[in-house]
C-alpha cells in the first residue's frame, strides 16, 4: 500500500475496473467524481423546476397554484442543499484538495466515502416526496406553515437533516487533512488560496450545520407530536425558528461563496502569469468573512417582528461583510494589472464571476441597510440578489473550476472555442434572467407569487426569456464537454503551466496522486 506501483499509462481512472471498484472506492478523486456526477443530476432536476417556475411567471399557464408552490420549493431545496452547497467543496474540493497540498488522500477516506452515501441517502429521501404528496414550504421551512402543511414536508426535513451530516463529515475531513497532511515544505504561507478557502468553508460547515440539524429535528418533532418550541399555538415562538434556521443558512451562503472565491484566486494568477495581489490579505479576508458570517444572520429578519435593538446590531455587523469582500474583489482586479492575460475558458468564467459577484455584493448593501430592506425584503429584489450571489459566484466559480480541472480529471482537452460560446450564452442568459428581477423587486413584486398584478408582466416575460438562454448555455456546455470526454485531445500534465503542486503530476493522476511525496520549496504563485 505505501509503495507506489506506477506502471506506465495507469491512472486513478483505469487502475481498477468495474462498477464495484467505483462504489467501494476510497480514492478521493473517484469520490469527487461520484459527487460531481450526482450533483450534475440534482442540478438538472433543480434546473427543470426553475424553467417550470419561469414558464408559469412568463405567462404560460402550465400549473395550478399548489403545483407552483411545490415547484419553487423543490427548485430552492434541491439547488441549495443538493447542488450549491456541495458543488465546489464536495465535488471539486474532494478531487483537488489532497493534490493541492501534495497528499495521497484525505485524512479519513472511509468517512469521505460514507459522507457521499449519506448525501445520496438524504437526497433520495427528499426526492422521494416527488412521488408522495410533495412539499410546499419553500426551502426556508418557516414555522408555523411548515408545521401545518399537509404535504410530506417531514421527508424533506429528514433528507436535509441527513445531508447535513454529509456536509459536516466533509468539513471535518478537510480540516484534519489541511492540518495534518500538508506535503513537506508546504507551510501555511505557501498554502494555495483555494485550500485557504476550503479550510474556511469547512470551519463554517462544522460550526453551522449541527445547528441546522437540531433545528430540522425539532421541526420534525413539532410536526409529529407538537413539541411546542416553534409553534405559537403551544406557546412557542415562530420567530425563534427563523433565528435557528438562519444561524445555519446565512453562513451557508459563505459555504457556497468562499470556495468559489478560492477557485477564482487560483485561476486569476495562473492565467495572468502573475502572483496573486496581496496573498496574505486575501487569506485573511477569507477568514474574516467566515467569522462575520456567524454574526449577521438577523439581517434576514428585519421585518419579521425581531426587536429593533437586534435589527440595529445585525444591520451594523452586516456592514462589515462588505469590507473583506471588497478587499478580495480589489485584489483580484489588481492581479490582472500588468499581467500577460491568457483568455482561456477558466479566466473568462473568472471575469463573469467578478462581474456577477460585484453586482450581487453591491445589491447586498441595499438589503443590509435597514430602511431599504423593509421595502425590498421578500420581494424579487432579494430573489435577484441571492441568485447573483449564489448562482453568480458559486456557479461561475464551479464552471471556472470545472474547465480548469477538466484536463486533470479526465486527461482530455475540450474545445476552447465552444467553451467561449458556452460562457457567453450562460453569462448573457443569467443577466437577462435576473437583472429585470431587481427592478421587479423595487417595484414591489413579492416573491413566491403564483400570479401577479399586470404591471409586472413585461419584465417577467423578459426574465423568462433569459432562463431559456441559460438552459441553452448549459445544454451546449454539456455537449462539448461530453464530446471532449470521448473524443478530446490528450491533455498534457500541466496544460495551464500552473505552479501549484497538483499540476506537477500526470493527467489524469495515479491513484496515489504522486509517484513520490513532493517537497514544496516555493510559494504557489511565484510566476517569475
Amino acid at each position: 500500500m505505501s509503495t507506489i506501483a506506477a506502471a506506465p499509462g495507469t491512472n486513478y481512472l483505469n487502475a481498477t475496473k468495474g462498477l464495484r471498484s467505483w462504489i467501494g472506492t476510497l480514492d478521493h478523486k473517484r469520490i469527487g467524481l461520484m459527487y460531481l456526477f450526482t450533483i450534475l443530476c440534482t442540478f438538472l432536476m433543480g434546473g427543470v423546476f426553475a424553467i417550470m417556475v419561469r414558464l408559469q411567471l412568463g405567462g404560460f399557464n402550465i400549473m395550478t397554484a399548489d403545483q407552483y408552490n411545490r415547484a419553487f420549493t423543490y427548485h430552492g431545496t434541491i439547488m441549495v442543499f443538493m447542488v450549491v452547497i456541495p458543488m465546489i467543496p464536495a465535488a471539486i474540493g474532494n478531487f483537488a484538495l489532497p493534490m493541492l497540498i501534495g497528499a495521497k488522500d484525505v485524512a479519513f477516506p472511509r468517512i469521505n466515502l460514507a459522507s457521499y452515501y449519506i448525501f445520496l441517502t438524504g437526497a433520495t429521501m427528499a426526492a422521494y416526496t416527488l412521488f408522495a404528496k410533495g412539499v410546499d414550504t419553500g426551502w426556508t421551512f418557516y414555522a408555523p406553515y411548515s408545521i401545518r402543511t399537509g404535504t410530506s414536508a417531514s421527508w424533506v426535513l429528514m433528507g436535509a437533516f441527513i445531508m447535513g451530516f454529509s456536509s459536516i463529515f466533509t468539513g471535518l475531513n478537510f480540516i484534519v487533512t489541511i492540518h495534518k497532511l500538508r506535503a513537506p515544505g508546504l507551510t501555511w504561507n505557501r498554502l494555495p488560496l483555494f485550500c485557504w478557502a476550503l479550510y474556511a468553508t469547512s470551519v463554517i460547515q462544522v460550526l453551522a450545520t449541527p445547528v441546522l440539524a437540531i433545528t430540522l429535528l425539532l421541526l420534525t418533532f413539532e410536526r409529529a407530536t407538537g413539541i411546542g418550541i416553534f409553534d405559537p399555538k403551544i406557546g412557542g415562538d415562530p420567530v425563534l425558528f427563523q433565528h435557528f434556521f438562519w444561524f445555519y443558512s446565512h453562513p451557508a451562503v459563505y459555504i457556497m461563496a468562499l470556495p468559489a472565491m478560492g477557485v477564482i484566486s487560483e485561476v486569476i494568477p495562473v492565467f495572468s502569469r502573475k502572483p496573486i495581489f496581496g496573498y496574505k490579505a486575501i487569506a485573511l479576508a477569507t477568514f474574516g468573512i467566515a467569522l462575520v458570517a456567524f454574526l449577521v444572520w438577523g439581517h434576514h429578519m428585519f421585518v419579521s417582528g425581531q426587536s429593533e435593538f437586534a435589527n440595529f446590531v445585525f444591520s451594523l455587523l452586516t456592514m462589515f461583510v462588505a469590507v473583506p469582500t471588497g478587499v478580495k474583489v480589489f485584489s483580484w482586479v489588481a492581479t490582472l494589472y500588468k499581467g500577460s492575460l491568457r483568455f482561456n475558458a477558466p479566466l473568462l468564467y473568472a471575469f463573469c464571476f467578478l462581474f456577477v459577484f460585484t453586482v450581487g455584493g453591491m445589491t447586498g448593501m441595499f438589503l443590509a441597510a435597514l430602511a431599504t430592506d423593509v421595502h425590498l425584503t421578500d420581494t424579487y429584489f432579494v430573489v435577484a440578489h441571492f441568485h447573483y450571489v449564489m448562482v453568480g459566484s458559486t456557479l461561475m466559480g464551479f464552471l471556472a473550476a470545472l474547465h480548469f480541472y477538466f484536463p486533470k480529471m479526465f486527461g482530455k482537452m475540450y474545445s476552447e472555442c465552444s467553451a467561449k460560446w458556452g460562457c457567453f450564452l450562460i453569462f448573457m442568459g443569467f443577466n437577462v434572467t435576473f437583472f429585470p428581477q431587481f427592478i421587479l423587486g423595487s417595484q414591489g413584486m413579492p416573491r413566491r407569487y403564483y400570479a401577479y398584478v399586470p404591471e409586472f408582466k413585461t419584465l417577467n416575460q423578459l426574465s423568462t426569456f433569459g432562463s431559456w438562454l441559460i438552459a441553452a448555455g448549459f445544454i451546449w456546455t454539456a455537449i462539448y464537454l461530453g464530446r471532449a470526454l470521448v473524443a478530446g485531445a490528450k491533455a498534457p500534465s500541466n496544460p495551464w503551466e500552473a505552479l501549484t503542486v497538483d499540476w506537477q503530476t500526470a493527467s489524469p493522476p495515479i491513484t496515489e496522486n504522486f509517484e513520490t511525496t513532493p517537497v514544496i520549496t516555493s510559494g504557489p504563485y511565484e510566476y517569475r
Binding site: A65, D66, Y142, P144, Y145, R148, P232, K233, K274, P275, G278, Y279, K280, A281, V303, S304, G305, N311, S315, M319, F320, A322, V323, G326, V327, S331, V333, A334, L336, Y337, K338, G339, S340, L341, R342, F343, F351, L354, F355, T358, V359, T363, M365, A368, A369, L370, A371, T372, V374, H375, T377, D378, T379, F435, I439, S442, G444, P446, Y449, Y527
Partner: protein, 332 residues
C-alpha cells in the same frame, strides 16, 4: 447600463410621507453601486485589453502594495458606516408611530385580511384610511405568518400568530393602492391581495359613520340599497358575544341571570368586580382576566368552583374573544 433605470420610474408611486426620503436613500445607494461598479469593471476591461498575452508576453512580478491595500480596506469601511447610519435614521422614523396615530386592528388569515375599526366596523381585504393622518395598524395572524406590504408606502411588516406587531404610515395620495402579502403563506399566497383606499376628510368622516363610500372603487360597490343610508342599529359586539356564548356552549355552565348554584360563576355583574380565588388571592375581573379565563381557565380558579372548564385557546378567533368580553361587560 441598466443601472440607471431606477431613475426612470422603476420605483412605485410615492404615496406616503416616508416614501420620498426612502427613495432618496435608495437612489444614493444605486449611484454608489454604479460608481463602484464602473471602477471595478472599468479596470477589468482596460486590463483585459491592455495586458492580454498578445500585447504583453511577460507579466510584471508584483506581490502587493500595502498602501493600496490599506486604502481599499479603510475607505469602504467609512462608506458602509455612512450607509448604516443613514439607513438606520430613516428606518427609525419608519417604525416609530406618532402617539396621535389612528389605530386600526388587522387580523390576517389564510387567505384574507380583516380590518377592525373602533366603530365596530369590520372590512375584508379593503382598508380605508384617512389622507395625511398617521395611521397605526396593530396586526396579528390566526394561522401562519403573513406580511403586510404596501409598495407605494414603502412599508412592510410580518404578521405573526401569537404576536401583535405594529406598522404605521401617513398616506399622501388619494385613491387605491396595492396591498400584498409578502410572507409565503400557502396555496393562495399570491391571492392574498388587498386594497388600501385613501379617503379625503369628508369620505373618512362618512366612513366612520358607517356610510358606504361611493369612491370605494370597482370591488367596493355594495349595491344601491344601502348607499348613503343613515346609520341604524345592527348586531353589536355584545350581541355577537351573546350568540357566541350559545354556539360555543358557554351557557351550559355560565348564566347571565345571576342565579346561584351553577356549575360555574355567573356573568351578571362579573365585569369590574373583585373575585376571590381558591388560593385566597383576589383578582379584579378586567378584560385580561376574562380573556385568560377563556383561553386558559386553569390559570385562576374562582373559590367554590372546580377546574372543569376546557381551554378555549386556539378554539376562538381574535374578534370572537373581543365579542365575548364585550358581552360579559354588558351583563350588569
Amino acid at each position: 447600463m441598466l443601472w440607471t433605470l431606477p431613475f426612470f420610474g422603476t420605483l412605485p408611486v410615492q404615496a406616503s410621507e416616508i416614501a420620498s426620503r426612502w427613495d432618496a436613500f435608495y437612489i444614493f445607494l444605486v449611484v454608489l453601486s454604479l460608481i463602484f461598479f464602473v471602477i471595478v469593471f472599468g479596470a477589468m476591461i482596460i486590463f483585459a485589453v491592455k495586458y492580454n498575452k498578445d500585447r504583453r508576453a511577460k507579466a510584471e512580478y508584483i506581490e502587493g502594495n500595502h498602501l493600496l491595500e490599506f486604502f481599499w480596506t479603510a475607505i469602504p469601511t467609512v462608506i458602509v458606516m455612512v450607509i448604516f447610519v443613514w439607513g438606520y435614521v430613516v428606518y427609525r422614523d419608519m417604525v416609530q408611530a406618532p402617539s396621535d396615530a389612528y389605530e386600526i386592528r388587522v387580523i390576517a388569515k389564510q387567505w384574507l385580511w380583516q380590518f377592525q375599526y373602533e366603530t365596530g366596523r369590520s372590512e375584508i381585504n379593503k382598508i380605508y384610511v384617512p389622507l395625511n393622518k398617521p395611521v397605526k395598524l396593530v396586526m396579528t395572524s390566526e394561522d401562519v405568518i403573513h406580511s403586510f406590504f404596501v409598495p407605494n408606502f414603502r412599508i412592510k411588516k410580518d404578521v405573526v400568530p401569537g404576536m401583535y406587531s405594529q406598522v404605521w404610515f401617513k398616506a399622501t395620495v388619494l385613491g387605491e393602492h396595492h396591498l400584498f402579502c409578502a410572507e409565503y403563506c400557502g396555496t393562495s399566497h399570491s391571492g392574498m391581495i388587498g386594497t388600501v383606499i385613501v379617503l379625503n376628510d369628508q369620505d373618512w368622516k362618512n366612513f366612520l359613520k358607517g356610510r358606504e363610500i361611493p369612491a370605494a372603487g370597482s370591488t367596493g360597490a355594495m349595491g344601491t340599497a344601502a348607499a348613503g343610508e343613515v346609520a341604524a342599529p345592527t348586531m353589536t359586539m355584545a350581541e355577537r358575544g351573546r350568540e357566541l356564548s350559545k354556539t360555543k356552549g358557554c351557557v351550559a355552565c355560565h348564566n347571565d341571570t345571576g342565579a346561584a348554584g351553577g356549575v360555574a360563576p355567573t356573568y351578571k355583574g362579573l365585569y369590574g368586580s373583585t373575585v376571590e380565588m381558591t388560593d385566597g388571592s383576589k383578582v379584579v375581573a378586567d378584560d385580561n382576566y376574562i380573556r385568560e379565563s377563556i383561553e386558559n381557565p386553569q390559570a385562576k380558579i374562582v373559590k367554590g368552583y372546580n377546574p372543569v372548564m376546557p381551554m378555549f385557546k386556539g378554539l376562538l378567533k381574535e374578534d370572537e374573544i373581543n365579542a365575548l368580553i364585550a358581552y360579559i361587560k354588558s351583563v350588569k
